[in-house]
């Protein structure tokens, strides 16, 4: 397999971005250590170098929150569209940088290195390396690693792929996307930090969620108001009736979710239902109520 120039450029851009984010947050010793490890990994002399450097990173560079400034966030988005480092720590950024150092202009080498290191990664390493997905070259060749992260029984590993990450929206097939969204609700995680949620809505996902809602109802369990966000454009009369009911007698979050979903539904009955709660309808119209607020 050949490695395109754009792939190498992407690895370089990602590394420059991470270095810029890290520079003001590292002591001279930590910075020197990181540079030496990047050089050693890039030289490719010792196959164990990457695993050991990734393992040692937190004790060498520390674990404080990255806590980017507004300017740094902007620089990030300029380098990589939709990158979101909210909640990242310094050691996570360093670990992503270290794995990128193994690219050295060769996609095959990078994919092999990433496979090898994730196969034996402890939980903190997995979270860091999966958060790095949007920064890696050859994104279409590492989908299996992202899908494996989504299969994890460890919620923070799952969320490292699903939340605040543009990679799933860009690379997942519809089936993979739908599994991720349904699992998010199933493990009682949150939908709103998923990027591209509205853009990737699809009828099959809506059907799965409608079935899932029925299953929860049969078991006497509550249904996340967020579920309706992915159902709304495909809702039938039965779903509109459910939403109208939630709008009437649900909790505050359920009422807000129902209003947002009804607004996204084109059936005349949806508009009629929404009109019964003018306060919420007005808040939705004015943009004062959004999905991020109800979770």
């Amino acid at each position: 397999m050949t490695t395109s120039l754009s792939s190498t450029a992407k690895a370089d851009t990602s590394m420059q971005l991470l270095k810029a984010w890290l520079a003001p947050r590292l002591t001279p010793d930590a910075a020197a250590w990181l540079d030496s490890q990047i050089a050693a990994i890039a030289s490719g002399e010792k196959p164990m170098q990457l695993a050991i450097a990734v393992g040692l990173a937190p004790r060498k560079v520390g674990k404080v929150d990255l806590a980017l400034t507004a300017e740094e966030v902007d620089a990030g988005r300029a380098a990589r569209a939709d990158i979101d480092a909210t909640g990242w720590s310094v050691d996570q950024a360093a670990r992503i940088l270290l794995v990128l150092a193994s690219h050295r202009g060769d996609d095959d080498r990078f994919v092999t290195a990433l496979d090898r290191i994730l196969a034996t990664a402890e939980i903190g390493e997995q979270i860091a390396l999966l958060r790095g997905l949007p920064l890696y070259p050859a994104p279409e060749r590492i989908v299996h690693r992202a899908a494996e992260g989504v299969r994890s029984a460890m919620q923070p590993i799952f969320e490292a792929v699903a939340h605040r990450n543009p990679y799933p929206r860009e690379q997942f097939s519809e089936a993979q996307w739908n599994q991720m969204v349904v699992k998010t609700l199933f493990i009682e995680s949150r939908l709103w930090p998923i990027q591209g949620l509205d853009a990737r809505r699809n009828p099959d996902l809506a059907r799965m969620l409608i079935d899932y809602a029925a299953e929860r109802r049969a078991a006497g369990r509550s249904i996340s108001p967020e579920l309706w966000r992915c159902v709304a454009p495909f809702a039938g009369e039965a779903e509109v009736a459910t939403l109208a009911d939630r709008l009437r007698s649900g909790t505050e979050a359920e009422r807000a979710g129902a209003a947002l979903a009804l607004k996204d539904c084109s059936l005349p009955s949806a508009r009629a239902a929404l009109a019964t709660a003018p306060d919420l309808a007005e808040a939705v119209d004015a943009g004062r109520l959004s999905w991020n607020q109800i979770a």
Partner: protein, 300 residues
């Protein structure tokens, strides 16, 4: 607060985690060992080490218990030379991971030549990586096996103040203490050591460098051994400070030498850990429901 510095949590249930957290266990150390039957290839060993560094740490965190590991090739499986050679190759990569507080549990089982070979190689690895060591002393021919273990450790220039000799009993305690090692006692219902005998030993020898653990695993064992021993020691008149040393502070002192375990981990965790890996101890933080218990049945 208690630390159980020897617990094979991979074999325990969620009920155990709940009970431990409720009893005040804030941290456990899971030493790599065999799993009741011998592994036949390095792949299953690799997955085992990944498991105790991954899913098991996550599981513990859900119950507000901090989880650490010792990484090593155990003496039983050291007798399979092909496996042992392959495991030795992967150990350095695992031993340098976060949360690894020692090389262990290593030592002798039958005291064969192969056991001796891999014991020595791992002592060198511990010295090279500057990690403490947890020593498993054999069930059979224990006294001689323990004595020989200590000879070999000193021969390999590993500082005894960084080595815990585990499964110590009345017969071995004096030599362990005299030679400057830490002495750990596995409070294990039908064998090894009982809480009553442990209390008597603390009265005789003092609390310095003595450590109680449960060694709970897949056999008949009690994950609450450490808090129960603490209570029994208190009831038998041992001072609160000595109880604290034996059931908490001594383990923290020696395994803390790894730089991978500190009181802050459970008293004031880093924000990043608090968000992702650790739900906070219910005893310390009051009445949180562990995340596993309230989420869907993905865990099965």
């Amino acid at each position: 607060m208690f630390i159980d510095p020897h617990a094979h949590m991979i074999s325990r249930t969620t009920d155990d985690y709940e009970a431990m957290a409720k009893a005040g266990v804030v941290a456990v150390i899971e030493p790599a060992f065999w799993i009741g039957q011998a592994r036949t290839n390095v792949g299953s060993y690799k997955d085992y080490l990944s498991h105790i560094l991954g899913f098991e740490r996550f599981r513990a965190g859900q119950f507000g218990v901090r989880h650490y590991c010792c990484i090593g090739l155990n003496s039983k499986e050291a007798n399979n030379e092909e496996l042992a050679e392959a495991v030795m190759e992967i150990l350095p990569g695992f031993a340098t991971k976060e949360g690894v507080v020692a090389i262990g549990e290593i030592g002798y089982d039958e005291q064969t030549a192969l056991e001796d070979k891999y014991f020595r190689l791992q002592l060198d690895l511990a010295r090279e990586l500057d990690l403490p060591v947890m020593i498993h002393t054999p069930h059979r021919d224990k006294k001689r096996g323990a004595s020989r273990s200590m000879d070999v450790i000193l021969e390999h220039k590993v500082d005894p103040s960084r080595v815990v000799i585990d499964h110590v009993n009345e017969e071995t305690i004096e030599e362990v203490k005299d030679r400057g090692f830490w002495a750990a006692f596995s409070i294990y219902p039908h064998s090894k050591m009982t809480a009553e005998r442990m209390a008597a030993l603390v009265k005789t020898y003092g609390a310095e460098r003595l450590i109680a653990d449960s060694a709970c695993d897949w056999g008949v064992s009690d994950p609450l051994s450490v808090p129960k021993t603490a209570k029994l020691m208190t009831d038998s008149g041992i001072s609160a400070e000595d109880v604290r040393l034996v059931t908490y502070a001594n383990a923290l002192a020696v395994y803390g030498k790894s730089g991978q375990m500190s009181e802050d981990d459970w008293l004031s965790p880093q924000p990043i850990d608090q968000r992702t890996l650790y739900q906070g101890n219910t005893v310390l933080r009051g009445g949180q429901t562990p995340r596993v218990a309230q989420s869907g049945s993905e865990t099965e």
